[in-house]
Symmetry: C2
């Protein structure tokens, strides 16, 4: 069985030393009351809840899975009780708008809690994440709809599943067929079948407020004809009480590779009553206001699973006795040395750790951007936040999820044969993690979003907002005694990022397929540079603290050593991706489609 320990020390380091979170919040409107003491106490409580209440659900829920019978879904044993406890403790309200019952604390805190929940039990953690739905309603719905639905969503007693995919359309929402026919009372009659609906039906919340993409009869074809609707599972009376059952039903649940405790539903809408959110045919716009938040959550899943897999792999490597160190017995009194003496075991562990901690820093930076974006009254700062979030979200989602799969596989590998055995829990992390590369848009989609829709469409402007920040950091620290070698490498790959972008943009002009051919390697390249920036920042803080306090703090020493590992053993992957970005699309496109199968 696996264990989990909330990474409180790392969050404290990031908040106080790397990102100067308290300094930043002091300058933001309505945020100055955030203190380290308050944050520490909240995160400590949340960590305890994750470790003690949520984590025990993880393995049994994987083995039991969800049950579907006559349209009703039962989650694994214990989920319901812990969910109830979770919402009663107010955890869903932390960073939501006080107007609708939220506590109004910065999103950075909610993000940290989210990671812990997802580490402890990813399938459960997904049920208590509804930032995306809340954002879609808050940013797009009418005042009346907001007042009717947001308080219960924020309180957690209602869920908010997002209903986009249909059997014949996943990435290509333009193909969707679900119909919305206007009724005379201003509501709509929604009919169609949605699939892959996470938490579409479950026994946790007393009601589900579905956010459904559908098409009006006279709407244009494609994505320009899509509108967004609130479709409650149980209709809500004007006084807020629950009324009649709506025409919504769960047709079945999927049997998946992992995330067995998370119900993935086929949802049937059969003349169900729906309420328009945002304008007619403005569904894609409304949806995009939740996309960044939802994709960020998937990026966090990457961190969460890499972290918990790392923790367990490291403990195993310290404990498992097998063979002797190549340099001679390290523990001659034992029958063998612990496998952590082997360089290759350390290579696997440090890869996991560099990803877990690097991505945590990256996520924290993004959560900070969400806060600044929402709170700042400085229009220019808001625009910078918008730009950075647009740029970094596909990297966070795409790169973190790819790295997570690599990490959790290394965690399993560290266990050897015991990693392949279900009871030991390491294979669950691999299976649970695998979804993150797919849902909310596959890695391929993230690559196209980043390179095509974001970078090339802005003629590189979006990218420059971030590379300039990195450039300034490099300039500031180019003579920094301890981290100079890191800064040199960071500066090189940062400059190369712009050069590659220019070249791929030129290639795209001769053949649009060059964008698709380069996109995933471009995404991966971008991820490694981004992580290098955050590892350099963490190294700087650690080096300065060690020097200032003349200390031998193991935590800060380990940070510096992990940074070195990152720069010397992971960042070199950028060279390979750079070469592949510039490889022509010919070697992909020349084969006749019919010759893929003989």
């Amino acid at each position: 069985m696996t264990t989990y320990k909330a990474p409180l020390i790392d969050y404290k380091f990031l908040f106080e030393e790397v990102f100067d979170v308290y300094g930043i919040y002091e300058d933001l409107p309505n945020s100055s009351d955030l203190t380290p003491e308050l944050t520490d106490s909240i995160l400590e409580q949340a960590g305890k809840f994750a470790e003690q209440e949520i984590q025990p659900l993880n393995y049994p829920g994987h083995e039991e899975g969800c049950h579907w019978k006559d349209g009703k879904v039962t989650t694994p044993k214990g989920y319901k009780e812990v969910y109830q406890k979770y919402i009663e403790s107010g955890w869903t309200q932390i960073s939501e708008n006080p107007i609708y019952g939220g506590q109004g604390l910065p999103r950075i805190i909610n993000a940290a809690i989210g990671e812990m929940n997802l580490s402890a039990c990813t399938a459960f953690g997904i049920y208590v994440t509804r930032d995306g739905s809340i954002a879609a309603i808050e940013n797009n719905a009418s005042k009346a709809l907001k007042e009717k639905y947001l308080p219960k969503l924020i309180e957690g007693s209602w869920g908010g599943p997002m209903c986009m995919s249909e059997p014949h359309c996943g990435s290509d929402l333009g193909l969707l067929r679900t119909k919305a026919e206007p009724r005379t009372d201003g509501s709509y009659s929604i009919s169609g079948t949605k699939m892959f609906i996470t938490g579409g039906e479950a026994d946790l919340a007393e009601n589900n407020i579905h956010l459904v993409l559908a098409r009006l009869p006279d709407s244009p074809k494609g994505i320009k004809g899509i509108s967004l609707f609130i479709v409650p599972n149980i209709l809500v009376n004007d006084d807020g009480s629950l009324g009649e059952k709506n025409g919504v039903s769960c047709g079945s649940i999927e049997h998946k590779m992992g995330l067995n405790g998370s119900a993935t539903c086929v949802m049937n809408f059969d003349g169900a009553t729906g309420y328009l959110v945002g304008g007619i045919n403005k569904g894609m716009h409304a949806m995009f206001s939740m996309v960044n938040k939802s994709r960020f959550t998937i990026g966090q899943q990457g961190t969460a699973l890499a972290e918990v897999s790392y923790q367990n792999a490291a403990l195993y490597a310290l404990d498992r006795l097998q063979m002797r160190a190549l340099t001679g017995a390290q523990n001659p009194e034992l029958v063998a040395d612990p496998i952590i003496v082997h360089p290759d075991v350390r290579r696997m562990l440090l890869t996991q750790r560099a990803f877990a901690e690097g991505s945590r820093a990256f996520n924290t930076y993004i959560a900070l951007l969400f806060d600044k974006q929402e709170r700042t009254e400085n229009e220019k700062e808001k625009q910078t936040c918008d730009a950075l979030l647009d740029l970094l979200t596909p990297i966070c989602k795409g790169f973190n999820s790819e790295m997570c799969t690599e990490s959790v596989n290394l965690g399993l590998q560290t266990f050897g044969g015991h990693g392949y055995i279900r009871e030991n829990g390491m294979e669950q992390f691999v299976r649970d993690a695998r979804a993150a590369q797919i849902y909310e848009g596959t890695t391929g989609i993230q690559g196209l979003d980043l390179l095509g829709r974001k970078i090339l469409a802005s003629q590189g402007e979006l990218l420059k907002v971030f590379t300039k920040e990195i450039h300034l950091f490099c300039e500031e620290n180019k003579n920094h005694r301890q981290i100079k070698p890191f800064i040199n490498r960071l500066s090189d790959v940062n400059n190369q990022w712009l050069e590659l972008t220019l070249k791929v943009g030129t290639q795209a002009m001769t053949d649009p397929n060059n964008v698709g051919a380069a996109s995933v390697d471009y995404l991966m390249y971008s991820g490694y540079v981004t992580f290098a920036y955050f590892w350099a920042k963490m190294a700087k803080s650690s080096a300065e603290l060690l020097e200032k306090n003349d200390s031998h703090s193991p935590f800060h020493q380990a940070k510096l050593q992990t940074a070195r590992f990152y720069f010397e053993r992971l960042l070199p992957r950028t060279s390979l991706h750079a070469e592949l970005i510039l490889s022509s699309s010919d070697n992909l496109m020349e084969m006749n489609s019919d010759h893929f199968v003989f």
Copy 2:
């Protein structure tokens, strides 16, 4: 549900055009009667058996798994009937020694059949693979033991599980505790617990002939004190009939990530009667005669799963309509284009295909070496085969299994969300494949075996046998009109292979940890060069055939295009591995063990 089509056309290409198998066998003793007609007919029948009988077991067996009750194991529904049919058709006998009832056909044919079985249903394919056990007995046991046990093993009515691992020892067999106490009648009393025993108990064969590693009471500690024993599940009378039950029992079966149809058993030996195979304390030596064959089989699993996952992913990509090509609609009459128009989907498919076909060529070359090694009467040729097999086995096992996991994950990814759903069968390939990186020695162990035990221990001599062959091929073809660019690249990485080996050897002298730090990257580097050699050979045959016959054979065109993809998009990974091979072990070893967990 997935489908499978035996790659007969590819095997015909490899046998007749790439490796000139029939020319080679004409020159080998007792082998000249092998004709293309005979081979084609055998492989066609075997392919049909795999497609029609074995493949239907695959998904249901994954879902059902094996059952254990009161020490008895029941395999999934249908396994028993197909197993019976398989052995009645004589498939287990194909390449075994005619003295013991085998058909004496070259191993290259058996290897091809093995791949097809493993593609159709890996868990089932494992039950009918017993080359390793047969080799261990044939090469080491007394005449009496061989005559008693080999005919039934070869016939398939008895199984031959290998019993090495114990709960506290996997890679480090020196720690094993199972005891063998000599009895006055020359037999031994075997006691101890073995785990991770594939097919240790099952309802398929009427008896199991366990090959058990154990330690005599006065044997030296470590691997020098290990002996190998035959321990039948049911004792065999002198007339060959089955006698009393032996003291062997199955304590439980593991619940695994995949290979659910393959029973992985805890086996208890409780004063069981065993018979010494090879000399006392010569167990490791006897075991090594089966290790190359067993590891080769795992390498084949890599090919098998990459192939079947590729086939299904390619069919899906041709069928699934989603979005338009970046260059504009390719099928304007349809609602969307098939996803095979997208460069990144092709990148995923071609990666799978380049690995599946490249590894099939590699495996075929190895199987040919097994045949030459066994049949040649030329001592020098035999030594060359020994050297090449020692060198290439860890690459085949380690590299193929790593590449397989990458491939099957790309197959799943091509399906998008539908890949994550169990019923669609793509996730099973990922789960089944994952074991190959672990059993018969993890990738880390293969890396150490290759770099430490094989290459550095032979002072590079083993490596030179292979790089010289590649060098000669490059010299011969350096002016070859169509494949010149491939030859140039192959020649470069081949030369670099020797240079890197020299450097890592020098680094190893200053610090043995540099061997461990480099080993997995060295293994991967070696794999990419090896595949480049076989892709260059396949490209050469294809180019010449296309020219000679003035033909547009799609099969040979596709081979050339896949070769180009390999050289332009996969072989560049060597640069990264080369850099990491030379990265110092300091960045792995400097962190204090205690600082891996906070």
